[in-house]
Symmetry: D3
Subunit: 247 residues, 6 copies
Amino acid sequence: MRLLLINPNTTASMTEKAAIAARAVAGPGTEIIAATSQMGPASIEGYYDGAIAVPGMLRELKERQATGYDAAIICCFDDTGLEAARMFCDVPVVGLCESAVATAGFLAQRFSVVTTLERSRILIDNLVQRYGMGGRARVRASDIPVLELEDPLSGAIGKLRAEIERALAEDGAEAIVLGCAGMTDLARELQSIYGVPVVDGVAAAIKQAEALVSLGLSTSKRSSYASPLPKPFLGAMQDFAPTPVLA
Amino acid sequence: MRLLLINPNTTASMTEKAAIAARAVAGPGTEIIAATSQMGPASIEGYYDGAIAVPGMLRELKERQATGYDAAIICCFDDTGLEAARMFCDVPVVGLCESAVATAGFLAQRFSVVTTLERSRILIDNLVQRYGMGGRARVRASDIPVLELEDPLSGAIGKLRAEIERALAEDGAEAIVLGCAGMTDLARELQSIYGVPVVDGVAAAIKQAEALVSLGLSTSKRSSYASPLPKPFLGAMQDFAPTPVLA
Amino acid sequence: MRLLLINPNTTASMTEKAAIAARAVAGPGTEIIAATSQMGPASIEGYYDGAIAVPGMLRELKERQATGYDAAIICCFDDTGLEAARMFCDVPVVGLCESAVATAGFLAQRFSVVTTLERSRILIDNLVQRYGMGGRARVRASDIPVLELEDPLSGAIGKLRAEIERALAEDGAEAIVLGCAGMTDLARELQSIYGVPVVDGVAAAIKQAEALVSLGLSTSKRSSYASPLPKPFLGAMQDFAPTPVLA
Amino acid sequence: MRLLLINPNTTASMTEKAAIAARAVAGPGTEIIAATSQMGPASIEGYYDGAIAVPGMLRELKERQATGYDAAIICCFDDTGLEAARMFCDVPVVGLCESAVATAGFLAQRFSVVTTLERSRILIDNLVQRYGMGGRARVRASDIPVLELEDPLSGAIGKLRAEIERALAEDGAEAIVLGCAGMTDLARELQSIYGVPVVDGVAAAIKQAEALVSLGLSTSKRSSYASPLPKPFLGAMQDFAPTPVLA
Amino acid sequence: MRLLLINPNTTASMTEKAAIAARAVAGPGTEIIAATSQMGPASIEGYYDGAIAVPGMLRELKERQATGYDAAIICCFDDTGLEAARMFCDVPVVGLCESAVATAGFLAQRFSVVTTLERSRILIDNLVQRYGMGGRARVRASDIPVLELEDPLSGAIGKLRAEIERALAEDGAEAIVLGCAGMTDLARELQSIYGVPVVDGVAAAIKQAEALVSLGLSTSKRSSYASPLPKPFLGAMQDFAPTPVLA
Amino acid sequence: MRLLLINPNTTASMTEKAAIAARAVAGPGTEIIAATSQMGPASIEGYYDGAIAVPGMLRELKERQATGYDAAIICCFDDTGLEAARMFCDVPVVGLCESAVATAGFLAQRFSVVTTLERSRILIDNLVQRYGMGGRARVRASDIPVLELEDPLSGAIGKLRAEIERALAEDGAEAIVLGCAGMTDLARELQSIYGVPVVDGVAAAIKQAEALVSLGLSTSKRSSYASPLPKPFLGAMQDFAPTPVLA
């Protein structure tokens, strides 16, 4: 089984970190193909960055078709462009946020998601609601710029731990979900410190993708996620046209 | 007051039709600046088309800053890229779906939205839920490809009327919202045929944009819609970086 | 365009203040006709006051028909008698709360409503939920009796500011809605102090009423808001019978 | 125990029918005091009628205080003026809709409410949602004007039975709630015909009122239902001022 | 009228206390038959205890059929096995939590439930949501093991009062629901101390059961609560088979 | 990895069928230990059967601890006793319904669950709502007694297919979830017939259990699912006491 792990931001070090986490949990027959978007923002902090990141992510989905993959994981907790990717692909596509909150739902009745910046908090809260966990989960921001997670001297981990402690004390959280792909290396240690399940989206998404492939299930092509219709695409986007005119 | 009406698809005839509708309802001091995206799909039918359309829409928002506008209207019923646009702009930005359903809420306790293709139905239903009207509105598709609305011989109007009649008979709809920018020219006539309010998103959005400008209100820059943070954008997207390095 | 601004309480000074706010935002061709109820409570603080205020408000709606109006605004943040007024009138009727929260929805994903007394807080919270903003807005009371807003020495503004500050600090509010018609003169200043959008219901309602009239839209007469059926009304209420017997 | 059963419409024959139903279920020590509003509409069909009916209902609540009552029942399925009555009274006040749906909740997981006219359907649906039964109950109208229920030759019962049969067939209803005080005499027979629980609001409300009195419970005077504040009431409503100025 | 009050835990002293509370509010013609489960946990603290308690509770329901009862009350605030009991019985069955929150709904728009241990809090919160009161009620735990309520020296009452005070101060609670059958003797005194309605589930459930019996209403046997189908039950559970094979 | 697949009903042929399905999707290192409850009903059709089945299921969980397992799957679509099992076990426990709807959520925005009898429909609908999929999924019954699924001549498959076809035609379902463990052998064929994803709960649950074990995650022991407290259990249930008194 070949899983395409696409980082929709353009920071290769984050892709590397996520790929390590992915490979650490992948099943014996699973190959992780890590890809970094070649066009777009260096990190995704809010809706604008996310919107600009989507074409680069979709391009990777397309270009990697040549060598093949059995499922794709969009490696950003905002689930950047997830619906568009589902329309584009014939294979399953999963997001980190949806995978993480679905996984947490098997472990706890109430949990908290701890993300980076305040500007991402409500975006993620809206996702959590759409995924049906709005009544069970609270989303918190810990005031960490995404790229600070790459810098061990930034103090980011201290901020993250302080926010987790508030979630445990104030929310009655029974589990913690780490709300950024860049936190993937911290899950095990935080779980051992706090004695509650700590769910990392990267790892969770790998297992969900493996599950779907194993089960022979893929995105429904009926209605919402039907393949894009052939039509002209203009300008710089012309190569995104879903079906080139055949000669 | 100058309102920028951006069509996020690249079909200029749809922009023209929308501009006519916009000017028909605009207040005496309002100038409508119609813009058509220069890159992206010819119509927006589902998530994939929508995602690819966003950069072209944002580019128009940026390029038109030189000549100035007081608010922007994203002229697609999917509210394509609305949140990204709100982060980017200092002036108000409104969408057609959110404007139409907010307007319908002043007229009726229960209403139905009639859109084009089944693939757009659930996308719009999700929007309607986010805008808080999920308990009051049902979304229906009438099996019309968007560009057929441009062709008087396509039979599109017959399909649309049949679906409106089902909404009145089966949903107990008290009002109808037309769920595609390309239906903007039909609202008045359908209202007179069916004797219930028929809300067109283009017209509704123009009035909401005028209202916000008149009231001296603009998008909150606290939290969700804070301006994009300066950071590198790579590749074909590099000119979307929010703040170019100053010399 | 003639807009009837009805104060459903009997305090003419509040009507005056609201009329000033209304005229300040009204479009060039809009005439504001301010009316004060001639029967009922001096202020509306809770359900009892509101229920007794409705007949006086409806009487104004009826008596002003002789000189005509194109839409009506019920000038109390409790949206006193709004549904009854919609049944009675053939022209659009809008409320302050519904206009304000709809307007705030275009500006912010999360916002707080700051009203006067605790007894009005849950009443307004129930309205906010019915208008579909329950998941996006928190309602707060600032312990100000309504008529203290008319008295510059009452300390009311200090209490209001303190509550706004709590909303910003504790709720993560991105915008503030002023939850009483008597606060209409404070919106601009508070917006400038706090740097977030501050929405006043009076101004918002004027623009919504103008929008509906401009768009040729009025209350649906199908189902919920159908015109009252002719029938006997007894006693002191007999002149409220919807259709007088024709000679 | 003395229970005040107030009919907020002015049709005494409906009061009589409801009083018979009330006495049939009242406990041995319970006296039913039936009162008919002396001012307002002959029947309540929609929001306008309801709003005009409230002062007459509140007047009965006040005038009957001289002879005393231990709880009050507002005898209309729209729960006309219920919140205002709760503020006014020191004793418990219950409505028919809230009593009926709370009672049905002990009998069935899903049920349908069958009311009279379409114009009352959504009003009641909104109540059902506020009472927390929105996910469990569907509201249906049977196209019966209220006063036709007083006329055995009107065909009303046939329409009501047809709608109940649709509820059983289409909604999977496990129980039926009769959505009009004027249907109170039909419950037992319909229950025996259809073999599912049929809940009548009048009878249900009597038992809820008895329960509250027996339990020594009354309306909370903290926050929403605090007693009306003393203040001037003008014009025809001056005798509704909650506390007359003492000499 | 004979009401069967079943304590699903095996602590007879709790049954006694509940029976006293039940008899104190029962109507003149009501006989309370108190039964204690003969198999299962001494107290019910969380899902595991509750699951093991159900067969013992159902056995009492069955064995007491010989002497007859007109309705049953399951005397635990977790509404232990309520749905199973409704399937089993032909007479009405009510739970404490559902009775208490339905009763509180007639008294207050917002209220708080104060229960014992944190492990029961979310269980009860889930019940409150299913009963439709999720938007109106907050559930709090006071860190009291259930059996400490039987011990006057345990300090349990002090903890309970402290939590009630937090509910009043922080939640804006207008009424309090006591969230454990073992608190039934405290309701009246707490109501007098705090000046808000304090609802006890035991007393509330007795009145709801009396109401259903008086109204001639019983559990719907259509769909969810249809009588158990005859089939083999194996092993230690064989005598729970719903209908033994007739000779 | 050793997964304990417990059938909470006592029909060994259903356990066998489920074990085959489980082994078909299990990963290379996964051993499936199939267990059938030794006490309780032969099938679980509604709440009563389910409640009686729980002790037998918990007993298997306990007895199999001697030989060890890394996670448990409760093999009934009603998720029989799932919360109790989570309190009891230190290893993860998953249910079929929660696994299936979580899985379907990765494949489709709207889907339908097709179960057996009407009496199970609302039970499952309530589960679907608790798992957060209430807005995305409709539950349907196909009028098949559970044990008929074991009989190829029963006509059960025809009924099931008819109901799936109604789901596709009337619900706009994008995917189908099979709502009974006894349907596990039909998923692949139905998927190929209807061209939409068909999710089987048994297979889905195996993959979720594998995922949790691989990820080093287990049920949170904070709050809802804390281990049962030591206390006396009486009578036939005494061996379910969580911690026997140590000598």
